[in-house]
């Protein structure tokens, strides 16, 4: 290795820290969106690195669909306690109770899409001018088009056909009243990079990422976890399988994968050998060809 060389993970880390510091410097009231999934855990870890020995100078915000894996919530609360970080939680249930959104019905009902309204309301109420998200460009084809600093109009909408140019690492966070930004510090990371980094840095993650026995049923080729939130059809049957989660989102639309991987090394080998993307386990993306683009235009994460 040459004298002044760092490997690609350290290069990605340096880039993300730069972006997070830029947010703290350019915005008055930023928040970091935190779902309890591996990407937001890594993003938060990078934020701690960016400001040490000081605390992270912004709050985390969780948009809670109410359809959680209990392990994720417990993990979240422990992490906040340990690091002394302020957490804001906004509930989709509140948006439903206030009549701002109508709950979907039927077997494939999901609160995933409703989150957008809860998120935008939270941003408006708290006068948030920038929300950082753990989205990565390798996740999905519409995300592959996103800038680091992504401008949102006063309705919280993304205009993918008319994005601001983004040159070098000179980020333009200027906006008018009522508008805000979404910033994606780990844009350039791949799923593999995230796992390698978790391994390298020994970062704690919720245990449902590791292999465990779980009651599941098969729907559209996905293994969904049996829970009170997901009505089952008569034709669907409960089975016990050895599974783990490759992504953690809303429980109604996140599928498990069969896996024996119970260490980070195992997971990394599994990801290296995988022939499908992690979003292949996400029900929400399969609704239509441009499902993600449409949701993002409306203001989704």
């Amino acid at each position: 290795m040459k004298e002044y060389n760092i490997n690609h993970l350290r290069e990605l880390e340096a880039e993300s820290i730069f972006v997070i510091r830029e947010v703290a410097a350019q915005f008055e009231n930023p928040v970091m969106l935190f779902s309890g999934g591996k990407d937001s855990i890594v993003m938060f870890h990078l934020a701690r690195k960016a400001f040490a020995p000081a605390k992270v100078p912004f709050a985390l915000m969780h948009i809670d669909t109410g359809h959680n894996f209990p392990e994720t919530i417990q993990f979240r609360d422990e992490l906040m306690d340990e690091t002394g970080t302020r957490l804001i939680v906004r509930y989709v249930q509140d948006s439903i109770d206030q009549g701002k959104v109508v709950e979907e019905t039927g077997f494939d009902a999901s609160r995933n899409k409703l989150q957008t309204v809860t998120l935008l309301d939270g941003i408006e109420d708290l006068q948030v001018d920038c929300a950082m998200g753990g989205g990565r460009r390798d996740e999905e084809k519409a995300r592959a088009k996103e800038r680091f600093f992504s401008h949102r109009d006063e309705f919280g909408q993304w205009d993918p056909k008319n994005q601001r140019p983004e040159l070098w690492n000179l980020f333009n966070g200027k906006k008018h009243m009522g508008e805000h930004f979404r910033v994606f510090p780990i844009s350039n990371w791949t799923e593999m990079d995230v796992w390698q980094y978790i391994y390298l840095e020994n970062i704690k993650i919720p245990n449902i990422y590791f292999s465990h026995e779980r009651e599941v049923f098969v729907r559209n080729g996905n293994l969904l976890s049996v829970s009170d939130f997901i009505p089952m059809r008569d034709t669907e049957t409960v089975e016990k399988r050895i599974v783990r989660f490759r992504t953690i989102g809303d429980a109604t639309c996140t599928g498990a994968v069969e896996s024996e991987a119970n260490s980070l090394e195992d997971i990394i080998e599994e990801v290296a050998a995988s022939r499908t993307t992690e979003r292949g386990t996400r029900h929400d993306d399969k609704r239509s060809e441009a499902a993600m683009e449409d949701r993002k235009k409306e203001g989704y994460f």
């Binding site: 040490a52 460009r137 090394e265 499908t276």
Partner: protein, 423 residues
Amino acid sequence: MSDKTSGYLDMELLRFTTAGSVDDGKSTLIGRLLYDSKAIFEDQMEAIEISSQKRGDEEVDLALLTDGLRAEREQGITIDVAYRYFATPKRKFIIADTPGHIQYTRNMVTGASTANAALILVDSRNGVIEQTLRHSYIANLLQIPHIIVCINKMDLVDYSEEVYNKIKEDYKRVAEKLNIEDVRFIPISAKFGDNVVDASEYMDWYQGSTLLNLLETIEIVDDRNHQDARFPVQYVIRPQSDKYHDYRGYAGRVASGVFRPGDKVKVLPSGLESTVKSIDTFDGELDMAFPPQSVTINLTDDIDVSRGDMIVSIENSPKVEQEIDAMICWMNERAMMPRGKYTIKHTSNEARCMVRDVKFKVNVNTLEEVTDDKLVGLNDIACITFKSAKPLFVDPYKENRITGSFIMIDEGTNETVAAGMIL
């Protein structure tokens, strides 16, 4: 962990971009590169097979792997940059697939600004055309160190060596005029995969390497500057805790040069001198910091330093200037206003500026300087002089891609209207 996965921790990173006119096959080439190097997942392939069938295409359109927006798929063109990632056992790649249409030149510049190599595509039926010249000019202006000219659609010209040689000669003349140092040529068919990952069966006359092979082996010239120590201060860290009561750290990313504890430094614009006390990170102190690391610098003296200031070596400083000459790419529908006022973003610094003069515009067809037309509009490349309201700490872009670059922002719309490279 097996060797296969642990090797991944120590890979080199190459960032490259595509360029060339609309429909020359840039997105198809990236799709082909990903497909033939087995970087496409089954569910992604299934999805584009279905889309291609729906559109009535006979074959799977590999461009759909990067053309991810609805409007792009409907029109069959690229509108904005798509970023794609893949790794071979040799290297890890970040690809920016950019649009060829002149209307979206700003998105091409966006993708190209962070690249170490550019693939310039030429349709073998059309040869070198205006958009090829414009993109070559921009790639060169941005100082992308390696240019690979992919002469594409060879299947449509009977894989003719003559056609290839003619285009190669034409482009060489352009490269000479532009002073492009490292340029290479490959005859390919993006659609059928000739010379992309696997060597072509139809072009025995070509003995050179395939595209992937070239990407895996080009020497990544270390285009980072390790001579001139420059540290733009991004953020001041002042913990609100008893333990770190007197802590004052300057957070930022090393732009160039190397910093070590004990180094004598100067802070701009005040000119006050001090010494690096420590280089801090979350994981402890470092004994040196170099680009592109993000660190926190502590100084021995308690002097006033804030965002926008720059910590530099006392032996070698950037120029501290208010009257600056630069090349710009104009990226907005609203033309540049003569004597107009804009906000400049340069490193972590921000200043208002006024455009003093347009020295010349570049005619991308003839590559000549035009001095009798001062109107700088969308997609124009020009040389300007501007005056900033406060001093900027600058190096020529040719010597320093970070302290030599800036953007211009329209104060009314907040849009980024120009990319600038300091002369």
